[in-house]
Symmetry: C2
């Protein structure tokens, strides 16, 4: 008699937490758990803005999967998913000849940039997506700065950040920290550098407490950042961006942080999606499939009123993975699943290394204390993944 096959697609926050949970809950002979990920490592999405600015090395934002997963209990396959066949209950991988069969499927395939149909964005902008993309952004910026002393074109040292949401603001904060060093390296006067943050919404950090938003804007402006609010980008070209009204901002570097949508593979599988994301039921199941679970950026979870979806964050994905690990263990033992309930613990946005703003519990904070909390939150993820030993190896306060 064969044991049930659980296949987890993606080693992001959700997938990895599910795997960790199953590894803890199940005995060797209860299920065959397979984790599939295209890289040999998990990357810490909440830290990607740092290597993208060059303020931290990208190795600080990734962890080898085999360091945090017991590969005697969880089979790890490093491969790329090319399609999901829900009828046949199998997954096709790029390198694997045989499709991967499952009884239970966990989809945590993350997101792709949402360009809202802005012309030229996909071709000409850079995206804070993964390890490959952020070290490319870092090197792109360095290359443009390196060219400036001979070519003397202002656009080479102009950086446009599209989107002043969470990622956009955190990235701008890192850039501000990075510029003095970069200018020294390439003999460029710091005051010549332009960082322009462009946002279509009428405010920076929509949804954030106004007092904290003001703190962030004031701090970043004091460091020379220019904000263009209520200003939709209409086109991104090789030379920069054109904003509503036709004004062009010449910039050799345009980094888009304006939003994400679900992975296209999920849409293509036939599951009903909204912008590539699956509105899951209380047990994180895809509509119509009792054995298919979706979490993280691939999923949509609505708030209590059922009016608005929670924004896709590492925090919700982690909680989903923790819930799903337990539920899957219960399921294969014939037990009851518990509904998923998101418990927001708060949100902290860093503004470079020493500044941050945020709400933790009911407490608003800004400045050094918030920056400290941000680091505590980062350490908590390392602790969940690999206990104290991983915190000691990879963490820094």
């Amino acid at each position: 008699m064969s044991v049930p096959k659980i296949v987890i697609l993606g080693a992001g926050y959700g997938g990895l937490m599910t795997a960790k949970g199953l590894q803890k809950e199940l005995n060797y002979n209860e299920a065959e758990v397979t984790l599939v990920n295209q890289n040999s490592y998990h990357y810490i999405t909440t830290k990607l803005h740092e290597p993208a600015a060059g303020t931290a090395h990208h190795d600080h934002a990734r962890i080898a999967i085999e360091d945090v997963i017991n590969t005697k209990k969880i089979k790890f396959i490093r491969d790329r998913v090319t399609s999901i066949n829900l009828q046949q209950k199998e997954v096709q991988l790029e390198k694997g000849d045989e499709p991967l069969k499952y009884d239970y499927l966990v989809i945590g395939l993350g997101s792709a940039p949402e360009t809202f149909g802005i012309k030229g964005l996909l071709e000409n902008a850079l995206f804070i997506r993964n390890i490959d993309s952020v070290r490319m952004i870092r090197e792109h910026i360095e290359y443009m700065f390196a060219r400036y002393p001979s070519e003397k074109k202002e656009e080479l040292i102009t950086i446009v950040v599209g989107g002043a949401g969470f990622t956009g603001i955190e990235y701008v904060g890192e850039l501000v920290d990075r510029m003095p060093e970069l200018c020294r390296e390439y003999d460029i006067p710091l005051e010549k550098v332009r960082i322009v943050n462009i946002e279509a919404a009428p405010t920076v950090l929509p949804g954030f407490d106004k007092e904290l938003v003001d703190y962030a804007v004031k701090y970043l402006e004091s460091k020379g950042v220019e904000f263009l609010i209520s200003t939709p980008i209409e086109e991104c070209t090789q030379d920069g961006v054109i904003v509503k009204g036709g004004k062009e901002i010449k910039a050799s570097t345009v980094v888009w942080t304006g939003g994400v949508r679900g992975n296209k593979l999920v849409e293509d599988s036939g599951i009903e999606t909204m912008r590539g994301r699956v509105k899951v039921d209380e047990f994180l199941r895809a509509p119509g499939y009792d054995n298919v679970f979706v979490l993280g950026d691939s999923s949509l979870v609505f708030n209590e009123d059922g009016e608005r979806p929670y924004p896709p964050t590492a925090q919700i994905a982690t909680q989903q993975g923790q819930c799903l690990g337990k539920n899957l263990a219960a399921l294969i033992r014939g037990g009851e699943m518990k509904p998923f309930k998101y418990e927001p613990k708060g949100t902290v946005a860093s503004l470079g290394r020493k500044e941050a703003i945020g709400v933790v519990g009911n407490k608003k904070m800004a400045g050094g204390m918030a920056a400290f909390m941000k680091k505590v939150i980062d350490l908590r993820w390392l602790f969940l993944l690999g206990g104290v030993s991983l915190v000691l190896r990879k963490g820094k306060l």
Copy 2:
């Protein structure tokens, strides 16, 4: 009564040695010596292949002029020369309103790349010229490597070095040292990288001892370098190079080391030149101008038989500067000048950090001993410039 005005254009090996000599020989009231240089620093041309590969930081290849010149005795102007008027005995600078008057002019304005009319070379290739250009080359290569993991195009990690002369071979040697680190940084398998060295002449390092050339080629080939000898480049495009016969080698990085010519400013001044270089007389004077001296890459000095010019090197420029400093001091005191005689001390070409080939005195050497000698030669230049203290500050063995 005013003292004679000596103006030195360029703080390369020749100009700097002339200034150092005058600083030592002359008293405060004997002459007004002005040194003009477009940067605040002297760069060590013989080391530029290291920062261009990223094996050493570019700060190791430059020295602040005010660190090695006594600015109480030598006036230093940081500016770019825009024209030389030999009739009016004045030099026009970019920022200076008033032209700079001289009684004696020393031209050490260095070289520009010689492209031999190869189509597209100036537009699409990179050149190991100065600090600005080498850090740009380093960043160009890093950026191409950073793009490879997402774009997967082989040309991104293919580097063509045009020219297998001294600079070409030294640069290839550094690249070989650099690749393992670069591949680790961007998760690229080392064996996928291609370094292709293309030379029109029938041998690598024309003019060098054959046994040493074989040593160099064998060593570099063992590290994966491909040599295309007797293979003129016919065109350089945005995609790579096209060699004689029409074969295309796709490469996102093409670095041209195939030769240099004199600075165009010298040609434009009306002095007779050959490829921008001035065939000077025995006192390093330009033909027809008793008060104009030319040295370094701007000058042509023929060997004893008068058949072939010595190749432009730091060594000959340094000796010219040493000679000219003494001669100018003699001249303004009404003394006799001594003819310049080049005394070749030997040549060592590095092949990365631990290997080299060369001839010192009459002794051929290859391997670790030659690499050691190369470092001694580098230290000697630091000693000439700034004595023991500069050797201790900037030198490394």
